[in-house]
Amino acid sequence: MRFNEKELVCLSRQPSEMAAELGMRGPKKGDVVKRRLVKLVVNFLFYFRTDEEEPVGALLLEQCRVEREDTQTFSIAFLDDAERKYLFECDSEEQCKEWIDSIIKASYEFMRRNLIFYRTEIHRLTGKDPLEQYGISDETRFQVNSGSQLMARDTSSL
């Protein structure tokens, strides 16, 4: 499968708040934990060998499940296959929580849902569609499906 590698490598050089050396283990049997500089840029997780300019690899953070494995370890599971997981070892519980939170919020689909929520609520409160001023109200990607539901939810869990 082809992809625009140079442009993606360029993206990996963008500054990011979430960049740290973590212990990382790949999803295959026999993969061991290796120290990697892990960096979150948009909805990609790049990982570098320390002091190398170009990342070893890139992970697309969509359709994934991020979970706490123990106090300082989190995992990213893909393809609804709980066994196919990448594991990340942090230096503290706080760092672990921060990474989990950041990765979840980095997903494009997560952000899109938030946008639709805000759009709907602003329209409900003000009668105006906030996307009109940007000329993007009819863009497919920002539509609320007529079949979608804003579900009542117990907000005490927030």
């Binding site: 625009n4 697309l60 991020v66 997560f110 946008l115 009819d138």
Partner: protein, 262 residues
């Protein structure tokens, strides 16, 4: 650099919203002829294969850091994705007709993750303002979409329309240049940390709301975003005027970029 292909392929084939799909001709990298391919735009990724039913992906283009431009080409209805940094490439495409060209350009302009992030930040602010301005409304029973608690959801809480045909084809020619606005915003200042906020700030009189943090991203202030949109609004009006003239006059497409970097 390797990319986890299985993850990318899965994302392409899964039920998450498709923002646009259709045939485009793409200029080859080595063979410089244009080849017809089936393209699918999902989030900030442009996938392509030979035919819609094919299982195998030929490739994917990650749409970050590029601008969308009209371009001069031996082909009609051409446009390009341009990465302006040295050594980075330009992808050239040709649509089947003008409507398709406009529709694709518009869809690609609003595709980047960076653009969406800025938009969400702006909307969050507007939402807070709206709550302050309409306190009686906010006391209504509060319903919320599903937000993931401890893990990123694989459930689509909202499914956008899966076929990417804009509701008002042809009638709304407004285009914005979000990619360039982001490019300019980022290059004007060195990226700074977005101030962290409590995740459970409670607005007076309203139930608990999710205040989103974007700790992985660095942006210029939101005021700059609005100003940039105003700036581009002017450019867009100019573009609309140009396109209307072109439709009436039958002139050749001029070489122009949607974004004038000055």
């Amino acid at each position: 650099m390797k990319i986890d292909e299985k993850v990318v392929c899965y994302f392409e084939s899964c039920k998450s919203p498709v923002d646009k799909e259709g045939y485009l001709s793409k200029k080859g990298e080595i063979k410089t002829s244009y080849q017809k391919r089936w393209f699918m735009l999902k989030a900030n990724l442009l996938f392509y294969k030979d035919r819609p039913g094919d299982k195998d992906l030929i490739g994917v283009i990650v749409l970050e850091g590029c601008t969308v431009q009209l371009c001069e080409s031996e082909e009609q209805f051409a446009f390009s994705l341009v990465w302006s940094e040295p050594g980075l490439r330009t992808y050239k495409f040709a649509a089947e007709d003008q409507a398709s060209q406009e529709s694709w350009i518009k869809a690609l302009l609003s595709a980047s993750h960076s653009y969406l992030a800025l938009l969400v930040m702006d909307m969050e602010k507007q939402y807070k303002d709206a709550l302050r301005a309409h306190p009686s409304e906010s006391r209504r029973p509060f319903t919320m979409p599903t937000f993931p608690s401890t893990h990123a959801s694989t459930l689509p809480a909202f499914a956008a329309q899966s076929v990417g045909r804009p509701a008002s084809q042809g009638s709304s020619q407004q285009l914005q240049a979000p990619n360039s606005s982001v490019a300019r915003a980022v290059s004007k200042k060195s990226p700074k940390l977005w101030p962290k906020r409590n995740s459970n700030m409670v607005a007076v009189g309203a139930p608990a709301l999710p205040m989103l943090e974007f700790s992985g991203l660095c942006f210029a202030p939101e005021e700059q975003f609005i100003k940039l949109h105003e700036d581009f609004g002017r450019e867009i009006k100019k573009l609309i005027a140009d396109w209307s003239r072109r439709r009436g006059g039958g002139e050749d497409l001029p070489v122009e970029s949607l974004i004038d970097f000055g």
